[in-house]
Amino acid sequence: MIETLLQGLLLGGLYCLFALGQSLMFGVMRLTNTAQGDFIVLASYGAISATTLLAVNPTVAGLVLVPVAFAFGYALQRFVLSGTLGRDPLPSLVVTFGLSIVIQNALLEVFSADPRSIESGGLATHSIALPGDLAVGALPLLIFATAVVCTAALQWLFSHTSLGRAFRAVSDDREIAELMGLDSQRIFALATGIAFMVIALAGLFQGLRTTVSPADGPLLLLFAFEAVIIGGMGSFWGTFVGAMVLGITQQIGFRIDPGWGIWFGHLVFLAVLVVRPQGLFPKTRG
């Protein structure tokens, strides 16, 4: 039982990385990125290309990928998504949905449908012994640790820096924030850039942990989304907790029957939606 719980927590770490970017973009811009999962897959393929073409190890690939992802996200917001923001959720939804289709098919063309993964050089199989006859994989533990660090970093950024203040102000009242002199387009682009840095990490780890194929995106999006809703919108630690709950739920489901894991997650998500729609740890916001 403890084993399942532990596996669930570690899986939750990955889901947290999936979800943080989503939480950030929605929190600052009220933008729902339906291509979130596909961008994660794109990042995975980016890491795969880097490790195979440039013959570098995953760490270096990651170090290259993260700043590239920042620039990509910044440009995407500045030039593509900025025109879709507004009270109507449809334009941003359609554009990100369109991006999802474009990415999936582009990846299919370039890489074919065969599942690929990143050579982890043994990291994926390495395990660490814990007291009580338990063992955890080194990679899942690393992912979990990264998730904790990213969540803490984002939370700190929002609460204790002037950029975080700007994020909160612009999301509260864009007009008055601009009155104070904020360039909202630049702020939005920065937020998206940061979100994409986390997406890059998520993609890297996903490719290390398991195989990826071009059509994987939508499922990852659903996991990210469920984590955000279960945890409660408006809070990064809430997203973290939501991801933990989702991970544990799925692991319990997997234990009962291999085909039930994901379904269990969906059911718990729907249950939370019915019983406590604001999520477990919502930040009340207008």
Partner: protein, 328 residues
Amino acid sequence: MTTAHVIRGTAASQAALWLGIALAALAASMPWWAESSWMREFVEIACYFIFAMMWNLLAGYGGMVSIGQQAFFGLGGYVMLMLGNFAGINPFVAIPLAALVAAAVAVPVSWVAFRLQGGYFAIGTWVIAEVFRLGFANMSAVGGGSGTSLTALRGIEKATRESLTFWTALVCVVASVALVYLFLRSKQGLALLAIRDNEVAAESQGIGVQRMKLAVYVVAAFGGGLAGALYFVGNLRISPDAAFSVNWTAFAIFMVIIGGIGRIEGPIVGALIFWALNKFFSDYGTWYLLGLGLLAIVVTIFFKRGLWGWAQQKWGWSLFPTHRHLSD
């Protein structure tokens, strides 16, 4: 003091009505002179079109953007199949029955889905569709993950079956268009437009916003189920992945966005363009889909009211007037 008259139609729309009737009559005669592949294509496009119409009703008029309408599409297909295979009901009769079931299911689904708003409502509906898909994939009675065939039509001769399917599709298309058009021109429709424009103001005028939204959601589910049941009568084989694929919604979104959301003629224009693109480019597989995606992005950013909406604004066209303007 002058009295103002409320004008509902335009000369162009009258002409279009007669043209539409003529086309429908011409189409109805097709089984006697057209190739069977044309009829099969028509059935397929009809399903896409009805689904897109309903999506347009939901999003453009009801203000609810959903990426999960395929839940009702697939449900319609499976219910039709189960009624046909297990209850011995004629599948053609089962089509409207399946649509009714989809509409009924939409009510409890709305209790969950309506907890969310905006973009998150959209993704939430997708999760629900996935739950449906996984549910049916676990039902061995209908073949589980690999699906099953519609055996109830086995006894009918191919040409007859194809003709019947074709006519059913034609009836469904005309019925859906008529349903949506009449609904939007009615008092309820006017209320819907009021809600779309300003929900708070509409509420204060005594319009039951939540009730209207539920009504639209149920109607859209009915239409989605209708399209799904019809599709699998034509296809004869169903599987969870085909029935609940998000591509259905993707194509519907594409058709509506290209044609212009919130306009009745939007899905018609979009379906025509989609059919044409399909005809010429679908052989290109991934590139074709990629192109569709790019087109949707470009149209959304640069032609905010769709290509038809842009034409409407530029040249004042209106085939399906739901607006009323005052004359003096």
